[in-house]
Every structure is written in C-alpha cells, then in structure tokens.
C-alpha cells in the first residue's frame, strides 16, 4: 500500500536503530501523516511489523540465556562454598599447630627464610582475576586496583613485577607490554590445591632467592551478593605467629576465620559472611619435636602460604560468581522490559495498519456510491 520509496532512511532517529538490527533496507509502511509511533519513554522505534516480531523473538531468547546463566552461577556458588568448607579442617589444624608450636618456642628468636623482613626494593603483585566475562564490573575493579597499586609503588620508587592469575587479567596485561609480568597462570573453573601450589611455589622461590622483597596478593573479597571489595593483602614476609596483614598494617589474627554461606532471605538468594573464631585448645600436650622446632616451623609456613593463596582464589571465585549472578539478573530484567516496550509498539503498529486498511475500504466504498 503506502510503501515509502526511500524506506525510512530519511529519518535520522530511526537510522541507528535500523543499523543495529538489519543491514539492509526494508520497506516500512508509514501511516499517511508520517506519524512516528512512540512508546512511552524510549526513542521512537519505527519499523516494520515483521522486523519488530523478529526483534521481540531475539530479545526473548536472550532473556532465556541470561536467566540460565544466573542459575548456573548460583549453582556454582554452592559448589564454591563446599570447596571452602572442605578446606576448613586443614586450615583449622594448621592454625592450631602453629599456635602450639609458637607457645613452646616463644623465647627463641626465630629466623626463617619466609619471615625475613628486608628493605623493599622490588615487590611482586599476584593479581587474581576471573576466567570468563559477563560478570559486571568484577574484572575491571580488580584490574583498576592493580593499576592503582602499581602507581603507588612507582611513586614510592619501588620496582614491581606481576603474577597474573586468570584469563581476563592475562589478556589485559598481555596487551600492555609496559607492565612487567613474571608469569601467567590459568586456573580451572574451581581453584584446587594444585593451582594454589603452583602460585605459592613460584612466589616462594621468588622471595627466597631474593628476587623480590615483598609479595602482595590482590584479590576480590566477597562482601555480599551485590558488593565485593578488591583488596591488597601482604602475603610474604609472613609473621611467624600467622597473622594476616593488610597493606596498611592492619593485622587479623589467624584464628579468626571468615567464611560465606549461601542462604535465602525473603525468598531471594543471599550470601552471608560469618566470622568464626577457631577454638585453640589451651592445653597442648608437650610434643617431642623430631626435628628442631625451627625446622618444623620452616615446614609449616609454606603450608600456611599455600592455604592463604588457596583461600584468596576461592574467595575471588565466589565474588566473580556473585557478580555474574547479579549482572545476569539485571540483564534478564532489562530484557523483560525491552520485550514489553517492543510488544506495545508492535501492537500499535498492527492496529494502525488495520485501521488504515479499514479506512481505505470504507472511503473507497463511499467514493463509489
């Protein structure tokens, strides 16, 4: 009927919309007065019925995908939680033993390679990022933190090198050859002791061979489902009492452990953090040390290092999953809203077309009589 010969390309406001869906020109039935159908709050979507229908279909598919991704991420959070829980017996026993040994050798001056505090000339930063995208601002946040820390170190005149963990971080630093990266590590979907081992071995050898004087761990601390915090955490040198120190010098006692739980609140999935204090038995049997206590501490501290790295990896994974859950949830909501708007426009177009046809028939009939 009224097929505009130029299509709608003369209309600039619809051009950008056009190019985003179809690369070719489609005839678009205009109403006679050239009215643009406007939906309530968005820019005018001005197109053919068939196009609109295709678009609605594709948005609905996208919605299904994002919904599925959100559920998958929720399931993985549960798995990550189980991994954290199964790592607890090791960690608790380790802390207990560390305390007991420290009690028994309190008077001695301990001098272990891992606890040596040297003047800092070079720092190794271990940056933990995610493997995949579509997780909101997660990877960006940690990378920005890393860049900020690098700036701080540059200002202090300290040299630095990076150990990048995770595909996203690897890709980012590969594109920037001006940042020296010592090694790239790729973790699987669930961080295991083997990966933590690889990282901690590398860091151990860097520290002991005096290539670096300090090792810092940058990972994302899991605060809640919608909030996560990239933090910098000093890994080496360790304090022999097993305290975990922040860059600013705030120390947390090793016996206090935080872990997260996936629960439901008001019918929605949430995650809560609990701080648990590990019970240290006051009565510790006097052990006969097979080797020198210093040697034993020397064997314990790498274990401690390993478990710190593993905890950081697990926590980072949990934050990534939570970020993905909330990003996909937002995407699903947006897709639903877009479907609604598009349907409204579609219906208006359809009704306008029908009205036009009726008017034509009626006026044709009038003209005859």
């Amino acid at each position: 009927m009224w097929v505009s010969s130029k299509g709608s390309f003369s209309d600039p406001s619809s051009l950008s919309f056009r190019s985003s869906i179809t690369p070719y020109q489609l005839p678009c039935p205009n109403s006679g007065t050239g009215n643009h159908s406007r939906s309530s709050s968005v820019t005018p979507i001005h197109c053919g019925l068939r196009e609109l229908k295709t678009r609605i279909g594709s948005v609905k598919n996208t919605q299904k995908i994002t919904e599925a991704m959100k559920l998958v991420a929720a399931a993985k959070v549960r798995r990550a939680q189980e991994a954290v829980l199964s790592g607890r017996p090791f960690y608790e026993t380790l802390v207990e033993v560390l305390y007991n040994i420290n009690e028994q050798i309190q008077d001695e001056d301990i001098d272990l390679p891992l606890t040596k505090i040297r003047p800092v000339k070079k720092v190794a930063l271990v940056v933990v990022t995610g493997e995949r995208g579509l997780c909101g601002g997660f990877n960006n946040a940690i990378i920005r933190k890393a860049e900020a820390r690098i700036e701080e170190l540059k200002d202090l005149g300290v040299d630095y090198t990076l150990v990048s963990v995770g595909k996203k971080g690897n890709a980012y630093f590969l594109r920037r050859p001006y940042i020296p990266v010592d090694r790239y590590v790729e973790a699987g979907s669930l961080p295991t002791a083997k990966e933590a081992q690889e990282i901690s071995d590398h860091v151990y050898s860097m520290f002991v061979s005096e290539e670096v004087d300090k090792v810092e761990l940058l990972y994302t601390k899991f605060v809640s489902l919608v909030k996560s915090d990239p933090i910098v955490h000093t890994l080496l040198p360790l304090s022999p009492r097993g305290e975990i120190c922040d860059v600013n010098g705030n120390c947390v006692d090793a016996a206090e452990d935080e872990f997260f739980r996936l629960t439901t609140k008001d019918g929605k999935l949430t995650v809560e953090r609990d701080v648990v204090r590990i019970e240290i038995e006051k009565f510790s049997p006097i052990f006969k040390f097979e080797q020198d206590p210093v040697e034993i501490l020397d064997a314990l501290l790498p274990l401690y290092l390993n478990s710190q790295v593993l905890k950081a990896l697990q926590e980072s994974l949990a934050s990534e999953l939570a970020a993905r859950m909330s990003a996909m949830s937002n995407a699903t909501d947006n897709a639903a809203e877009l479907t609604r708007n598009l349907s409204i426009v579609y219906n208006r177009e359809r009704q306008a077309k029908i009205t036009g046809e009726i008017l034509e028939v009626v006026s044709g009939a009038n003209a005859l009589t």
Binding site: F90, Q197, H202, K288, Q291, L303
Partner: protein
C-alpha cells in the same frame, strides 16, 4: 589398638580412617609409627607414606608438610597427597622425564629451586605406584 590417621590437604581430606601402622618420610629419615607412640611433631618431607591395614600395605605420595602424633591420633597436613592407586604410571613417568629435562635447562637460582622441587615430587609419585607386599 589402632591408629586414627587423618591426611589433610588444603582443599580436601585424603584419608580419614583407622590403620595399624604407618611409615612416614621425614626430614630426618623415615620413622615408623605403631599404636601408643609417644606424642611427637615432625616435618614431613616429599616422599612416600606407607600405610598398613591388617596385612596389606598401601602407598601414598606426600608433598611437604607436617605430622603430629598424639593419643593414637595421627594428623598429617600436606600440600598435596595422592594415593598410589590413583596415580597413572605412564603419566607419572612422563612427568618425571619432563622434570629432569627442566632441571637441566634451569638457569638462575630461582628456576633451579623450582626445578628441584618438581623433580623430587615427580620421583615420589613414580615410587608410590610400586606396591609393597
């Protein structure tokens, strides 16, 4: 009288049941633990742990850790532990060869330390496969 053995790695519990006797590889040599042993604490070297259940010996490859024996409760904390039956012989042999090659190629103190550790680990894994009667 039996010993209650608990082998823990950072992400899982590898062994948690009763055994009759164990032979542990420590920094100062191998030690055998029988029930009612005096309480000791020792560092565990990269080596093979032999466990006796009834009359059968099982092997497990342990990497660097710590062991504590008190009141017939043995707690072994290691970086990684693999049961001998879980290790694939060919894969372990290949890992050993790769580790030896890496040691030859290592330059610098840092790489040498890493290569050495890798070699010892690979060797332990290969040893753990061979069962003891």
């Amino acid at each position: 009288m039996t010993l209650n053995l608990c082998v823990l790695t950072p992400n899982r519990i590898v062994w948690d049941s009763e055994v009759k006797e164990i032979i542990l590889s420590t920094n100062s040599g191998q030690i055998g633990i029988l029930p009612d042993h005096a309480p000791i604490a020792t560092a565990v070297d990269i080596g093979v742990l032999k466990i006796r259940l009834k009359d059968q010996w099982l092997t497990m490859a342990l990497m660097d850790g710590f062991a504590r024996i008190v009141n017939n409760e043995i707690t072994i904390l290691v970086k990684d532990a693999e049961k001998g039956s879980d290790i694939d012989p060919q894969e372990a042999q290949q890992t050993l060869e790769i580790a030896e090659a890496n040691l030859q190629k290592a330059e610098g103190k840092m790489q040498a330390i890493e290569a050495n550790l890798a070699l010892r680990r690979a060797r332990t894994r290969v040893e753990a496969i061979n069962p003891i009667s």
